[in-house]
């Protein structure tokens, strides 16, 4: 599926070592409040990174800026070595225009905490709408791609249902399918199970696990599910107060946390 497209995309930038996503000294202020204080973070092609940290530490802000839903106040975010929020004209950087943003956005996909499915469309159309109108696929191609993906997430029998007829877990699986069929290079997950009833969390996490194994998409996962993070992530980043407090291999982070804050944070999860 879509191999040619993928090869095309990567043939532009053959450099395997260049990070896919790079945050350099990125700051973000909301009014006077600085919620990110000089973030440096790199994500390699295909890498799965879990972002953990207490509420308000800036996890959502980090991925929303990459999705271009929020503008950084300072620093540079790059994708494939190209600045996201700026455009190079000669060697000057000017604020990105819509065209530039759309070009780079095509490599990024996102799944939201509250699904944000389109309530006026069937499940199938939720998943085919963007491939048809944004990627320019024919209806047949888009349908094929969508049905394939919906089968994978176990919703092949719900094509003609509307979002309101689905459970939370089913909705979130549709939302994942909707993002994946766009074949992004990096997928962003913002606490995608925290709006779900506990018994529905497992099915969604399983879908993401499968996805992580089967594809070479990079993933940034904001999550409070520590077992899941440990299981799926190549690297775990612990944030505190808008800064990276500690990062490393999941084993190290969860077995031998160094900073006191991380220890404290983790102990709260172990106790429950």
């Amino acid at each position: 599926m879509g191999m040619t497209e993928k090869q095309l995309k990567s043939s532009n930038k053959p450099d395997k070592e260049m990070p896919l996503v790079q945050y350099e000294n990125v700051t973000k202020k909301f009014g006077d409040v600085e919620v990110l204080k000089g973030l440096d973070l790199e994500i390699k092609q295909g890498e799965k990174v879990a972002l953990i940290g207490p509420s308000g530490s800036g996890k959502t802000t980090i991925i929303r800026m990459l999705m271009t839903l929020e503008k950084p106040s300072g620093g540079v975010i790059s994708l494939n070595g190209e600045p996201l929020w700026h455009k190079k004209i000669g060697d000057k950087l000017v604020p990105a225009d819509e065209k530039h943003l759309r070009k780079l956005r095509s490599d990024i996909g996102m799944v939201f905490q509250h699904f944000n499915l389109f309530p006026h469309m069937t499940i199938l159309r939720n998943v085919t709408e963007a491939p048809i109108h944004v990627l320019g696929l024919s209806k047949e191609e888009a349908n094929e791609r969508a049905v394939d993906m919906l089968n994978k997430v176990g919703l092949g029998d719900k094509l003609d249902a509307y979002p309101e007829q689905l459970s939370g877990g089913q909705k979130q699986r549709v939302a994942i399918a909707r993002a994946v069929v766009m074949h992004p290079k990096v997928m962003l997950f913002d606490e995608v199970t925290s709006a779900l009833d506990p018994e529905l969390v497992g099915e969604v996490l399983q879908v993401i696990r499968d996805l992580a194994k089967e594809t070479d998409m990079a993933m940034i996962l904001v999550t409070h599910e520590m077992d899941f993070a440990r299981d799926i992530a190549d690297r775990v980043v612990f944030l505190h107060n808008g800064q990276i407090e500690e990062e490393g291999h999941p084993e190290d982070i969860f077995e031998t946390p160094e900073s006191e804050r991380l220890q404290g944070f983790l102990s709260r999860f172990l106790n429950t």
């Binding site: 839903l69 509250h114 944000n116 389109f118 309530p119 109108h133 944004v134 909707r178």
Partner: protein, 218 residues
């Protein structure tokens, strides 16, 4: 009672004109509402300002004043409308301004998560508006449109004051020629207007009931 029955057929030609004015100005108001409503949420501040001025101008003055201005004052600039056209333009622009507020409110009422999901799927601004926001906003607008259509029907009676022979004007003619008909004429006028309004009332009530279907919850 006989008088009441006598009057009815003589009012009908006027009712036809009233319905024509209603339909034509509703169509104009509908178009204006979308153009101005989208203008109010444009990303260009100049567009927002111009449409805001238009809306405030028409909501800040009276429909009858606007009608008279278009019919009596515009000729000073060499633009002379027929009473029918003057009526349609005044009604369309006036109720279009009110309806544009409905459009704007409905667009803003679509939860921001829908916009964010469209951006995440890399839709263009116009695709987002056309495929995601407007279809949902449209359902929110409908009850408002229903109510405005009733206001519009009532507003059409003003065209009688610029000599268009609508329902009201017909009634006035009948009353003038036979003063003993005064009571029956005005009663029948009200009844006929109400009959024309009835489908609109029922529609508006229905739309109000179904307004929240197929719209994302915040």
């Amino acid at each position: 009672m006989e008088a009441y029955i006598n009057i009815l057929p003589r009012l009908l030609p006027g009712a036809v004109i009233t319905v024509q004015v209603l339909l034509a100005s509703a169509a104009l108001a509908f178009v204006v509402a979308f153009v101005a409503g989208l203008g109010r949420v444009s990303k260009y501040s100049i567009v927002r300002k111009i449409t805001a001025v238009y809306v405030e101008l028409f909501r800040g003055t009276s429909l009858l004043v606007q009608l008279f201005w278009i019919y009596f004052a515009l000729p000073a600039f060499g633009i002379q409308f027929s009473p029918f056209l003057a009526g349609v333009v005044a009604l369309g622009l006036n109720y279009g301004a009110y309806a544009s507020e409905v459009v704007r409110g409905a667009i803003l009422a679509v939860p921001s998560g829908q916009t964010e999901a469209s951006i995440a799927l890399n839709m263009s601004n116009w695709q987002r508006m056309r495929l995601i926001i407007l279809p949902q906003a449209f359902r929110i607008m409908l009850p408002g449109f229903g109510n405005i259509s009733i206001e519009l029907l009532k507003g059409t009676s003003l065209v009688s004051l610029i000599t268009l022979t609508d329902l009201t004007y017909k009634g006035l003619i009948i009353q003038n020629t036979n003063l003993s008909y005064t009571m029956p004429v005005f009663v029948m006028l009200l009844v006929v207007y109400f009959i024309i309004a009835l489908p609109l009332i029922i529609l508006a009530k229905k739309l109000e009931k179904n307004a929240s279907r197929g719209v994302a919850k915040a």
